[in-house]
């Protein structure tokens, strides 16, 4: 064995010996890599052996690029067998397999009729003097007037703060919905930070989280 190696060293020189070892190693590894991707192993071997031909190393370089971006048989095979959680975001080549249903869909009973949402509304906040204010709004009353003055009627809502107008705004209820209309108050009315002007008319605040009347911020919630 030593003689053979010595012969090789003499025949090719030290550099040639390492080149042969490197080529054999590369060919072996390329064989294994392309096999793992689902290609026949000789394809990888051939790609590496091309470096020994007159074509040089440019063709294997191109083949590496082609190999990187082409479709691998492994991915095709994985489509039908891999569970949905097996694909990683980095790979992006094995989307979750679609398993067609093996049974007929059952006829389900129709859903029960949805009950009307009869919950009221609640506005809660803090006045400038540190006093808290909680206002309950009943859906049964179609309109409320919000004012700084004390409430005299059932449709009056009082917020005793100097920044609140007299009257300031109107709250409108319509079934499960709640509306707000500014009445030209100098302190201003804001819906989630956006200014509401009188010319805007009533605005739906059903999905709103917070309104501001003057400097009083009120959190809107369902009772």
């Amino acid at each position: 064995m030593g003689l053979e190696i010595a012969g090789l060293l003499h025949f090719f020189g030290l550099t040639g010996f390492f080149a042969i070892v490197g080529t054999v190693l590369a060919a072996w590894m390329a064989w294994r890599i392309v096999e793992k991707a689902g290609f026949p192993g000789w394809a990888g071997l051939g790609a590496v052996l091309l470096t020994l031909t007159g074509i040089g190393s440019i063709v294997p370089l191109i083949l590496v690029w082609v190999f990187a971006y082409m479709r691998w048989p492994r991915d095709d095979a994985a489509l039908g067998s891999r569970p949905a959680s097996a694909g990683s975001p980095a790979s992006g080549y094995a989307p979750p397999a679609y398993a067609p249903p093996t049974h007929e869909p059952k006829t389900l009973a129709p859903p029960p009729m949805a009950l009307a949402d009869r919950r009221g509304w609640r506005l809660a906040g803090m006045l400038a003097n540190g006093q808290s204010v909680v206002i309950a709004i009943d859906n049964a009353i179609p309109a409320y007037v919000v004012s700084r003055a004390a409430a005299e009627k059932a449709t009056d809502l009082s917020i005793p703060d100097p920044s609140v107008g007299q009257p300031h705004a109107r709250l409108l209820t319509a079934g499960p919905r709640l509306g707000l209309e500014d009445l030209g108050s100098p302190g201003g009315t804001f819906i989630d930070g956006a200014r509401l002007l009188p010319e805007h008319g009533p605005r739906d605040i059903t999905e709103t989280r917070m309104i501001r009347l003057g400097t009083v911020e009120l959190v809107l919630s369902r009772t």
Partner: protein, 77 residues
């Protein structure tokens, strides 16, 4: 004369270094993708920057370790 030779040598080294970087880049880009498809970190492809043995290290990693994203041979079993 010696200074001239030295500067020539430095210039040659610089060109060699730049050439190595360019060639490495040509290999790093596809290898990065191959590593990611295999389930490894793409940064493994940066081994190409190591002169002479860098490519062998990357190939050995891909060839002799099991791929986290699965292999064709495993699926066939």
């Amino acid at each position: 004369m010696i200074a001239w030779l030295l500067s020539l040598g430095v210039l040659a080294l610089i060109f060699l270094f730049i050439g190595h970087l360019l060639l490495s880049l040509l290999l790093i880009i596809p290898t990065w993708r191959i590593c990611q498809r295999a389930g490894f970190s793409g940064a493994l492809a940066l081994f190409h920057l190591v002169p002479v043995i860098g490519s062998f290290i990357v190939m050995a990693m891909l060839a002799f370790s099991s791929w986290p994203n699965g292999e064709a041979r495993q699926q066939g079993r």
